[in-house]
């Protein structure tokens, strides 16, 4: 029998990997993927609490549906902005985004 802690640890590990990737990776596509990883870690958390939490309720699952949709919308806009950036600058490297002082 898997316990709550194991699921939460999995969520925490995924979240940390995502955060690390989002803050350190050079390619913007990888950064976007890392952000998706963070959001999916949240989904694991929400579903764990909805199923095995102190007070299980359906709200967590509903929350997950909304998170997934919004994550997709965010990613779609991210890719669109990336394409526009690529057309202007011909690069998708984070280090080249230096027109303005970071």
């Amino acid at each position: 029998m898997l316990s709550v802690e194991q699921f939460l640890t999995l969520g925490a590990i995924l979240f940390c990997i995502g955060l690390f990737g989002a803050l350190t990776k050079r390619n913007i596509i990888i950064v976007l993927v890392s952000i998706e990883l963070m959001l999916n870690a949240v989904n694991i958390n929400l579903l764990t609490f909805a199923r095995f939490g102190l007070m299980p309720s359906i709200n967590g699952q509903i929350f997950t549906l909304f998170t997934m949709t919004i994550a997709a919308a965010e990613l779609a806009v991210g890719l669109a902005v990336l394409i526009s950036l690529y057309r202007n600058r011909n690069t998708s490297d984070v280090r080249d985004q230096d027109l303005m002082k970071w």
């Binding site: 997709a72 919308a73 990613l75 779609a76 394409i83």
Partner: protein, 122 residues
């Protein structure tokens, strides 16, 4: 009980063989048996016998991305139909109208993409 464990023994055997065979063949026996004589021609990419040209990392037409974006946006929205369908009876007329509004907005999105000529392949 014995046969129960026996079936697990078979699975275990398959697992061991499945791991050992590729490791043994590819990583141990292969380098020992094969002659090692690389030439520049041998090291080029195999492309059906013709000279390889272009980069391995080709740029896809940007239109693929547009289709992918459209797919992501519409695909995920469909998730909301499942919980709605499960609770359809207790939601009543309000739920039906609300879902129709939701689907209407999605259709509006499709019409928008259509009019903006996203769906055309030139």
């Amino acid at each position: 009980m014995v046969s129960y464990w026996n079936s697990y023994l078979f699975i275990f055997l398959f697992l061991v063989l499945g791991l050992l065979l590729p490791i043994g063949a590819l990583m141990v026996l292969g380098p020992l048996l094969r002659p090692k004589n690389p030439t520049p021609e041998k090291l080029t990419t195999y492309e059906s016998g013709i000279e390889p040209f272009g980069e391995a990392h080709v740029r896809y037409n940007v239109r693929y991305y547009l289709f992918a974006l459209m797919f992501v946006a519409f695909d995920v929205e469909i998730m909301f139909l499942y919980p709605w369908a499960v609770t359809f009876d207790s939601l009543g007329l309000f739920g039906l109208v609300e879902m129709l509004i939701f689907l209407g907005l999605l259709v509006l999105g499709l019409v928008y993409a259509w009019k903006k000529k996203v769906l055309e392949w030139k």
